[in-house]
């Protein structure tokens, strides 16, 4: 056990933690997207899906706890690595040029921070319903279910919120465009014959995630998804 822990604390070990937690977070992001895209199937579908998640009861809290732990591990390890890496240079160069490296690969910390800020806001907005228009969070649909559909549409109809989501998703996209390919290398799965494949896979899946997530605020802005007739905002209310 000591052997394992000591091994995981080295620079290579920390990268394993980074890669595995990154992979798990990535799996979550995909599942989360698949769930939310049900918004295009209408209020009934989305609210039903949300209810089925709520009905998991204690299991939902186990999943949330696990996710939080993974997230904290990823961010914590990222911060540890970033601090070590900065210290390793010592005196900075007067002139240093990137040779082949991509912007995305050099900006993992900055794009990570964007994602981090986004996650905090997002949780406040939709999960906890605190701070920003909390009354949106208390709506129910005619079946008496939590009206997730209205909450999301009403949120995304506000331009600043829609823009914030879109920009954050671009940040996540840049993070993942390097992160996914990088993960294969960190875990030692980067055979030369797969290198262009992993790079393409990274970019391809990232595109799906970004376009998928952005489609929702964009659709709300252009009126492709609208508040249902039962929503209090619809008949002149506010």
């Amino acid at each position: 056990m000591n052997w394992l822990l000591r091994g995981l604390r080295s620079s290579v070990g920390l990268k394993f933690v980074m890669a595995v937690t990154g992979l798990l977070l990535f799996g979550f992001v995909l599942a989360h997207l698949a769930g939310n895209l049900q918004i295009f199937a209408g209020a009934d579908q989305l609210n039903g899906y949300a209810k089925s998640l709520q009905d998991l009861g204690p299991l939902l809290w186990v999943a949330r706890g696990g996710l939080l732990a993974i997230f904290v591990l990823h961010v914590g390890t990222g911060v540890m690595l970033a601090r070590r890496n900065r210290a390793a240079r010592g005196t900075p160069y007067a002139v240093q040029k990137a040779i082949d490296s991509t912007h995305a690969s050099r900006a993992m910390v900055s794009t990570g921070v964007v994602v981090m800020i986004f996650v905090v806001y997002h949780l406040m907005h939709f999960t906890l319903g605190v701070g920003i228009r909390p009354e949106f969070h208390d709506w129910t649909d005619p079946q008496g279910r939590h009206d997730v559909y209205s909450m999301v549409v009403a949120g995304f109809q506000q331009l600043p919120i829609a823009l914030f989501y879109i920009v954050s998703m671009l940040g996540l996209g840049v993070h993942l465009s390097h992160g996914l390919a990088s993960m294969f290398q960190s875990l030692g799965w980067n055979q030369p014959k797969y290198r262009s494949f992993t790079r393409l896979l990274g970019i391809g899946i990232t595109a799906v995630i970004i376009l998928g997530n952005i489609s929702m605020p964009v659709a709300a802005q252009f009126g492709l998804i609208e508040l249902p007739e039962w929503n209090p905002l619809v008949n002149g209310g506010n």
Partner: protein, 248 residues
């Protein structure tokens, strides 16, 4: 050709150091980069000032001693070329060039452009060897090794230990060096047996020396005068991972 040179000067490890500007008016495009510095040093000696200290030995691209950060790129802009093999025709008349030492906490500046790279030696001492006593050199081809495998080992063995990978890396990580040294042993039957333990020992020593971790930006591969592939880093990760669970 005329050149303006901004060169790092630092008396010793304690000195703060700074960039100093020099003009050269008559540089031949056929000179190597180091010959150009020799000419500058002649000038400085004639003026009675201290010449610029820089590392060099073979001047034919095989020893790994020369170590100049030229305009933000280790060994200068030519791919697969050491500073000693870089020629002035790469640059244009009237160019301004900034010349700095390798920057890494694990490579402290000794003087001017000279850095102390003994941290690399300590990484080798930690695991970059084969610990069985092999006796005298065996006859050639006594141990059959597939050509493809021998070629991979040779690709890794091309590492001259110059430290350009560390210099180029935004994290000052020595992963490409460590991976090349572990890789050339790991691909041969004598070295393969110990590859997990070797990966672990060398990585831990690398951390101990204060090098950074790998973010997989691959600027190391691009800067390497021997064009060693980051594939060896993936292999090192693999060997390290296997050692993590096998306990050796």
């Amino acid at each position: 050709m005329k050149l303006t040179l901004r060169i790092w000067r630092q008396k010793n490890a304690q000195d703060k150091g700074g960039l100093e500007t020099h003009q050269l008016d008559d540089v031949s495009p056929d000179m190597s980069f180091l010959e150009m510095l020799d000419v500058l040093n002649e000038d400085l000696l004639e003026k009675g000032t201290e010449p610029i200290a820089f590392d060099h030995d073979c001047r034919e691209g095989i020893c790994g001693t020369c170590s100049l950060m030229i305009d933000g790129v280790p060994h200068g802009p030519d791919r697969g070329t050491t500073a000693c093999q870089l020629h002035m025709r790469t640059f244009k008349d009237g160019d301004t060039l900034t010349i700095e030492p390798w920057r890494a906490k694990a490579f402290p500046v000794v003087k001017d452009l000279v850095v102390d790279r003994t941290s690399f030696d300590r990484i080798i001492q930690a695991g970059g060897y084969v610990s069985v006593n092999t006796g005298g050199a065996p006859d050639a081809n006594l141990i059959p090794i597939p050509k493809a495998e021998a070629d991979v080992a040779m690709d890794a063995a091309a590492c001259i230990g110059c430290g350009a990978c560390v210099a180029a890396c935004k994290n000052a990580s020595a992963m490409l060096f460590v991976a090349a040294k572990a890789g050339h042993l790991g691909h041969l039957p004598q070295g393969e047996v110990e590859k997990k333990a070797r990966a672990r020992a060398m990585v831990h020593q690398m951390d101990e020396e204060g090098f950074g971790a790998c973010t997989n930006t691959y600027d190391c591969e691009a800067a390497c005068p021997k064009e060693i592939s980051v594939e060896f880093i993936a292999e090192l990760h693999r060997d390290y991972r296997k050692g993590l669970f096998s306990g050796r």
